[in-house]
């Protein structure tokens, strides 16, 4: 399969969403914190290209600002996962077969063993619901994912002769991990990051849906969806628009990940030429 169309479609989709989210930092059509009950449930048109919601807020603005929280949550969660998971994975691979490896991997298994949503609910019960806690909950579950991917890829690199050469040059494990291992698994990690990013957006939606994510008045796609679900019969637009936003963004990120994987995989690259 040629990598190009996937990459372009994915890039355009996720780029648009990112751009809209970025734009919302400086400008939105209407203030999303100002309610206007009299203007509620207006159909699309006029000053509101996508209409208004049940509290009279502009849907387009809500979606733009909502993108921001969805993206922020997913992004920071991926950041946490990578920030902790990658070093752990590198360490485990560097000490392969040793006690460190064993401890890191068992801890990973343990995190994996906890049902993610339950832990998210528990964290929320302890710390109260907020976007920050959603980030924490999603982030924690990204750690073992990145640790595993990193360790797996790093282990195969550790068998290569250039690592031997670096050892012969007197370099320590940490240095070798940073200098030789990490750059060579970066592709894989980038691809994994796009996947986790899209999963993060879905997870944020799920958490917000059960009331654990971003808190009002900050709009978030998941919460918009949750609040609109019972209005799907009277004003289906309210539930369909945020749902569509989630689907398109996740789709875009997945396509981007797929495209990147193909574009970055030397075997596939050669075949495509």
């Amino acid at each position: 399969m040629s990598a190009r169309p996937t990459l372009i479609a994915g890039g355009v989709l996720s780029g648009t969403v990112l751009a809209l989210a970025a734009l919302s930092l400086v400008w939105v059509p209407h203030d999303v914190t100002a309610l206007n009950i009299a203007e509620r449930l207006r159909p699309p048109g006029g000053p509101h290209p996508l209409g208004t919601d049940h509290l009279g807020r502009d849907m387009l603005s809500m979606l733009m600002v909502g993108a921001r929280s969805s993206i922020a949550v997913a992004l920071v969660a991926v950041g946490i996962g990578m920030g902790a998971g990658v070093p752990l994975g590198l360490m485990a691979a560097a000490g392969r077969g040793g006690w460190l490896d064993e401890i890191v991997m068992r801890m990973n298994d343990l995190i994996f063993a906890f049902p993610a949503l339950v832990i998210a609910i528990l964290i929320t019960a302890i710390l109260g619901p907020s976007a920050l806690n959603a980030i924490l909950a999603i982030g924690i579950f990204n750690i073992p994912v990145f640790a595993r991917v990193t360790r797996g890829a790093a282990l195969s690199l550790w068998t290569l002769d250039y690592i031997r050469a670096a050892e012969l040059a007197g370099k320590g494990r940490a240095r070798i991990s940073a200098e030789h291992v990490l750059p060579n698994i970066a592709n894989l990690l980038i691809v994994q990051a796009t996947i986790q990013f899209s999963l993060g957006i879905l997870a944020e939606a799920g958490l917000s849906y059960v009331g654990l994510g971003a808190q009002p008045p900050t709009p978030s796609w998941g919460r918009m969806l949750a609040e609109a679900q019972t209005m799907i019969y009277t004003a289906p637009r309210l539930a369909i628009l945020p749902g569509l936003a989630i689907v398109l963004t996740v789709l875009g990120l997945n396509l981007l990940g797929d495209g990147l994987r193909d574009a970055l995989d030397p075997r596939l690259r050669r075949a495509a030429r």
Partner: protein, 523 residues
């Protein structure tokens, strides 16, 4: 019987074969030689109709007059395995790891509807016996991973000959195997041809192998057949300059400077290392596997010491211990009088005195770094010297590369050039000892000759010492003064290379020597 006429092939638009014409008769063995990448495997795959995606094939290809190129895939399926059999280059991966060997052999019979399942099983057992895997010792219920490389190659042969094909193609059937196993496989193939009268296309880049087996020889270069004729005649006459170059390269002997006087540089005493054994059965645990078992030897300054032995005898394990990469479990290694210990315990002073060149010229470089950075890696220990750049240029020149190459990436070099860069890296911090672990095995004959020359030259100029590990006796003969013969973790014979290789004392050395194919020198 099989006839190739003006066969042309391009892969994704890039020409790979160009006007290849060949012919093989019944009971005939045709050797196809040529350096790496010359198109030998593609010729074989073209005959089988198993070319990779993006291939475009032109010309004529006939089996007993039947035009193979006009057949549909379904029709080809009926011919493959029945009339055409093939053994692939890499025995370690050619078998399905999750299927029993007996079933894999039997499948050939079942697919072609030649036997019921039960009959096929019995036939498979007979076939395996025939290729030297008697059911008492190697039951057909084994899985591939329970066999050695040579044994797997035999399974592949059994698979390929199950229906007595008219033509058997063997693509480098022995490159991955050590000399003794190689000899057994070649004998087996020769026997089969004599017995069944099939034709055999034997592909290899090793002229010595061909000279011992093939009736006729075709030499291939850049997708073209440059010379063809009776094997002995072609090798003797060497009409085409390329053939001449190939033969010369495989018999190449660099000049060897004498070692320097003085105390030994490296001393190894009673070195021992074992690996924990696999579990066998439910509760029993086998005794640990002794990979290196009480090895002692020394290397003088300026000396090149060979280490030979078949695959798995412990050579690499020993090399890693010498380099201080893996710990020993017993004995001692001293370099310049100081004890070598693995891990961080090794002082920088000592670490600097050694370096190594490994087998795989691609895998030994980080693909993301430029040559200058790759070569400069050993500077890590003492910090980068002020004249680092000059020294990088000098090292590149020393191995016959252009200093301008310093900004290129490793994938932009050929295998031989890469191996030179590896040597440059090993040299740059001016070590006293370089360990060469199968440093030339992956290279084709011509490049190999260049590298051997370079190593000899560097030794003469800088007074380096080498520990030269190889399972290729001809290489060891041409570039070492002294040689150690290793078998199952022990040194069984030691002495001057000429003496040991001409007049072996130990039975194992004798077996190794007699198994090694030799290319006869023309008078």
């Amino acid at each position: 019987m099989i006839l190739l006429r003006d066969l042309g092939l391009s892969l994704h638009g890039r020409p790979v074969l160009n006007g290849v014409s060949l012919e093989i008769g019944r009971g005939e063995i045709l050797g196809l030689a040529g350096e790496s990448g010359s198109g030998k495997s593609m010729t074989a795959l073209a005959i089988m109709g198993l070319l990779p995606e993006g291939a475009e094939l032109r010309g004529h290809l006939r089996l007993n007059g039947l035009d193979l190129l006009s057949l549909s895939d379904r029709q080809m399926c009926a011919i493959r395995g029945r009339d055409l059999g093939m053994i692939f280059q890499e025995p370690m991966t050619a078998l399905n790891p999750v299927q029993r060997i007996g079933d894999q052999v039997a499948e050939t019979l079942i697919v072609h509807g030649e036997a019921t399942r039960a009959e096929a099983r019995r036939a498979a057992a007979r076939l395996l016996h025939r290729v030297g895997l008697p059911p008492e010792r190697f039951p057909p219920t084994r899985y591939p991973h329970e066999l050695s490389g040579g044994q797997r190659q035999r399974v592949c042969i059994a698979m390929a000959i199950a229906l007595r094909p008219q033509l058997l193609i063997a693509d480098e059937p022995t490159t991955a195997l050590d000399v003794t196993t190689q000899a057994r496989i070649l004998d087996l193939l020769k026997g089969l041809v004599a017995e069944t009268g099939m034709g055999l296309l034997l592909i290899t880049h090793d002229l010595a192998v061909i000279s011992g087996v093939a009736d006729r020889l075709a030499v291939m270069r850049r997708g073209e057949i440059v010379e063809e004729g009776p094997a002995a005649a072609v090798l003797a006459a060497r009409k085409h300059p390329y053939t001449r170059a190939l033969v010369a390269a495989s018999a190449h002997r660099p000049a060897t400077p004498p070692p320097l006087p003085g105390p030994p540089l490296l001393e190894v005493r009673e070195a021992r290392r074992s690996y924990p054994a696999a579990h066998s059965g439910l509760f029993r645990r086998l005794p640990p596997h002794r990979a290196v078992d009480g090895v002692s030897f020394g290397i003088a300054r300026g000396e090149s010491l060979g280490l030979v032995g078949e695959s798995g005898c412990g050579k690499s394990t020993l090399a890693r211990a010498v380099l201080g990469l893996d710990p020993l479990q017993g004995g001692e290694i001293r370099l310049d009088g100081e004890v070598v210990r693995a891990g961080a315990a090794m002082p920088a002073r000592l670490r600097r005195k050694m370096n190594a060149v490994f087998q795989d010229p691609y895998g030994s470089f980080n693909p993301r770094h430029r040559v200058a950075r790759l070569i400069a890696e050993p500077f890590h220990l003492d910090g980068r010297p002020s004249d680092a750049d000059d020294r990088i240029d000098a090292a590149l020149e020393a191995v016959g590369l252009d200093p301008k190459d310093r900004d290129r990436f490793i994938h932009e070099f050929s295998g031989g050039q890469r191996q030179r860069i590896a040597i440059a890296r090993a040299l740059i911090a001016r070590p006293d000892l370089i360990v060469l672990d199968e440093a030339v095995s992956a290279l084709d004959v011509r490049v190999r000759a260049q590298i051997l020359d370079l190593l000899a030259d560097l030794r003469a100029r800088f007074g380096l010492s080498y520990l030269f590990i190889s399972h290729d006796l001809s290489v060891v003969r041409s570039s070492t003064e002294r040689v150690l013969v290793m078998q199952a973790g022990r040194i069984v014979e030691e002495g001057a290379t000429e003496k040991v290789l001409h007049n072996p004392a130990h039975a194992y050395t004798k077996a190794l020597l007699s198994a090694a194919p030799k290319l006869k020198e023309p008078d």
